[in-house]
Amino acid sequence: MINVSKLKKGIVLDHIEAGQGFKVFQQLGLDRLDDVIVLMRNVESTRMGKKDLIKIETDLTLDLNVLGLLNPGTTVTYVEDGKAVRKLKLSLPEQVEGILSCKNPRCISNTEKLGPVRFTLANRERKEYACEYCEARARL
C-alpha cells in the first residue's frame, strides 16, 4: 500500500474511472503545472472496486468543467488548511477546446493548420458538440 500525505491546499479529483486518470491528467494539461501533483491508479474503492485519483497541490484556479465531459463521475473537492471546503458539481461544459477533433473530412480544420478547435455543446442528452467551423457533431 502506498501512502500519500494529506493535501494542505489544492484540489482532489476522486472517483475517476479506473484507468482514465492519465487521460484526465493529460486533458487538463496538468503536466504544464509546476505544482506537486500525484496521480494514483487502481486505488481500492468500496463504491467502484477500483478507481483513479489525482491530488494537485496548488493555489491556482483550474478550469475543471471539462471533467463533466471527460469523466462525469469524478468528485472534485477543494481543500484549504487540510480541510475540504467546497465540492464542484460537474455538468457538461458549454464549450471545450483541444478535447475533441472534427471527424468531418470536408472540414477546414482537417486541412489547414489551425489552433485548437472550439466545440460548443449542441445536444446535452447525446453529449454532442458542434465544431466551430463546420458545425459537424462530435462526441468524446
Binding site: 468531418n104 477546414i108 489547414e112 489551425l114 445536444n123 467551423y133 463546420c134 458545425e135
Partner: protein, 311 residues
C-alpha cells in the same frame, strides 16, 4: 476579425434580415439612387470552386453599385496551387480589397479566413455547410411575392439531407412567427436530425412526407431542390424514387393559385420544363432577387447606407 461578416445566417439578427430585405426593395424600386454608392471600393471574389450564378451575382451586385471586382474563379490560378495557406491568401487579398467574398469546398473556410482579416468577409458557399446569401435571396423572393415572412406554410422537397440551402432556409424561417414546415423527401434523404431538433426546440411545427402530391395543396411556398443520383446506393433505387420528387405541371395543378415555386438552381430534371411558363414558377426571378439582396448586403457590411435609403 473586427469587421461585420456574414458567415452563416445566424450572424444576422432577425431585425437586420428584415432591414436588408427592405433595403433590397428600395434598390429594386430606385436602382439609380445606389448606382455610385460603392465608387472607389473593391470587392475581392475568391472562388476556390466553380460557380456561375453566385459569382456573377456578387460581381453584378458590386458593379451595379459603382464598385469594382478582382479575384479568381479557378483556384489553379491562385497561389493556393503553390501551397499557400488560406490564411496567407486572405491577408494578402485584404491589403488590396475592401470586402472579401469567398466560396470554398472546405466547410468552415470562410470563418477561418474571417479570423485573419479586418475587412468584411461574405461566405458564398462552403461545401455542404452554409450558403447564407442564398437564404437571404430566398427570403427576399418570399417577401416580394407573399408580402410577408410570417404565417406561411413552406414545403421543401428533394434532397433534404445534403441540401445546405434547405437547412439554412428552414432554420432562418423558423425565426419568424407562424411558420409551418413540410419536409418532402425519400426516406434516404430526410432532413438531418439536428435540424429537426433545432426546430423542435424553437417550437416550430414541421411534418415529414414522402409524397409531394399529398401535401402540395396545403403549401404557400414550394421550395424544390435537386435529388442527386450519386446520393443513392443503387441506380435502381434512384430510378424508383426520382419521379416522386419531380414537379410536373400535373402535380402543380394540385397547388393553390397563389403558391409560389422556388429553386436555388441549377436545376437538372426536378422541375419539368413545362412548369417554367406557369406564373407561380419564380426560380428565375429568384436569381435576380439574389443580386439585389447582395447589393443590400454589400452596402450594409461596408457601412455605406445613407439616411433615407429605405424611403
Amino acid at each position: 476579425m473586427t469587421a461585420r461578416c456574414l458567415i452563416e445566417p445566424g450572424d444576422l439578427s432577425t431585425d437586420e434580415i428584415l432591414h436588408l430585405v427592405r433595403l433590397a426593395g428600395s434598390i429594386i424600386r430606385q436602382p439609380e439612387r445606389f448606382a455610385t454608392r460603392c465608387t472607389g471600393k473593391l470587392l475581392a471574389s475568391l472562388f476556390f470552386e466553380p460557380s456561375t450564378r453566385t459569382k456573377f451575382s456578387f460581381d453584378a451586385a458590386m458593379l451595379r453599385l459603382g464598385g469594382q471586382v478582382i479575384g479568381f474563379s479557378d483556384p489553379a490560378t491562385s497561389s493556393s496551387s503553390k501551397g499557400e495557406t488560406l490564411a496567407d491568401t486572405a491577408r494578402m487579398v485584404e491589403s488590396y480589397a475592401d470586402l472579401i467574398v469567398v466560396r470554398h469546398p472546405r466547410e468552415g473556410a470562410p470563418k477561418h479566413i474571417a479570423n485573419f482579416v479586418n475587412c468584411p468577409v461574405i461566405n458564398a458557399g462552403d461545401g455542404g455547410h452554409q450558403h447564407p446569401t442564398q437564404t437571404l435571396t430566398d427570403l427576399l423572393t418570399i417577401s416580394a411575392h407573399k408580402g410577408r415572412l410570417q404565417d406561411l406554410t413552406v414545403g421543401v422537397c428533394g434532397d433534404l439531407m445534403f441540401g445546405r440551402t434547405i437547412h439554412s432556409l428552414a432554420s432562418t424561417l423558423a425565426r419568424f412567427p407562424g411558420i409551418k414546415l413540410l419536409f418532402i423527401s425519400p426516406e434516404e434523404l430526410r432532413m438531418p436530425q439536428y435540424v429537426k431538433d433545432d426546430l423542435a426546440q424553437k417550437g416550430v411545427p414541421f411534418e415529414e412526407s414522402t409524397q409531394l402530391e399529398s401535401v402540395i395543396g396545403r403549401l404557400d411556398i414550394l421550395y424544390m431542390s435537386r435529388v442527386q443520383r450519386e446520393r443513392f446506393v443503387s441506380e435502381e433505387e434512384y430510378l424508383r424514387l426520382k419521379d416522386y420528387f419531380i414537379l410536373t405541371k400535373e402535380k402543380l395543378s394540385l397547388a393553390k393559385s397563389d403558391t409560389i415555386v422556388m429553386h436555388p438552381l441549377p436545376r437538372v430534371n426536378e422541375i419539368a420544363a413545362d412548369v417554367d411558363s406557369d406564373p407561380r414558377a419564380l426560380y428565375f426571378a429568384q436569381a435576380r432577387y439574389g443580386m439585389f439582396i447582395r447589393m443590400a448586403l454589400i452596402l450594409f457590411l461596408l457601412g455605406l447606407e445613407k439616411e433615407g435609403d429605405l424611403a
